[in-house]
């Protein structure tokens, strides 16, 4: 909340704030090749990621209620992370995102099976959900 106060302070009157961030939403896991895309499961949203989203949503909502900013435009878009194999994806998630998302065994098995039978160019990817919002300082 204080960060948003600081941002409105350093923005000129009528200035623009762009809020760009990922949103937890049980992101799909896909096996992708030039010929085909197949969803094999979804990641598990862990409490820390849900709490972060909630805190961010509350902070920006409060800033709007205080009359600091007004929302002008908002959209979601996909942001893909991809790896050569399911094992590489699993290693990355365990190392970099362990507090935020998880993988259940059934999803890993399904992903590995589909990838093993897919075309030689097949990669594994996570389709994350991004939120971008255009706010204007009042």
């Amino acid at each position: 909340m204080h960060a948003l106060y600081e941002i409105q302070r350093v923005l000129r009157s009528d200035g623009i704030l762009i809020d760009l961030r990922s949103i937890s939403d049980r992101w799909p896991i896909e096996v992708e090749s030039a010929r085909n895309i197949q969803v094999t499961g979804h990641v598990l949203d862990l409490p820390a990621s849900l709490a972060d989203d909630e805190a961010a949503n509350q902070a920006i909502a409060q800033a709007a209620e205080k009359g600091w900013f007004s929302k002008e435009q908002e959209e979601f878009f996909p942001y893909y992370y991809s790896w050569d194999s399911p094992d590489e994806m699993e290693d990355f998630i365990e190392e970099a995102w362990e507090d935020y998302i998880g993988l259940d065994e059934a999803t890993m098995q399904a992903t590995s099976s589909v990838w093993a039978l897919a075309d030689a160019d097949a990669r594994v990817r996570v389709r994350t959900k991004m939120l971008i919002t255009h706010w204007r300082k009042k």
Binding site: A3, I7, R9, V10, L11, G15, I16, R21, F77, Y79
Partner: protein, 98 residues
């Protein structure tokens, strides 16, 4: 490891769909190593990137193209205490950092 991210460049497309950076004074909060900064900074009048991570900022400074030396600045700072005067910027970008 062969991680690839956003090869479709959706992030850049949406960033430019939502904001015109041309000639603007821009503050990027959570600039990290400057991955996003380099996608819009050439168009700006001035870009200030802040991040609390000293190591990430070192990478950003090393990677800064020579033609952007004068108009892209990096500061180690926390978003709770922005080291700038009132009304210094036209546009603020919360880069994966709210």
């Amino acid at each position: 490891m062969t991680l690839q991210s956003d090869i479709e460049r959706n992030e850049t497309k949406y960033l430019h769909k939502f904001a015109d950076f041309t000639g603007k004074r821009v503050l990027e909060i959570g600039c990290g190593e400057g991955r996003l900064t380099w996608r819009y900074a050439p168009e700006t009048k001035l870009t200030a990137g802040i991040d609390p991570d000293h190591d990430a900022l070192r990478v950003a400074i090393i990677d800064r193209p020579s033609d952007l030396q004068d108009k892209v600045l990096f500061n180690r700072a926390n978003s709770q205490h922005l080291p700038f005067a009132n009304e210094s910027f036209d546009l603020a970008l919360l880069a994966w950092s709210l």
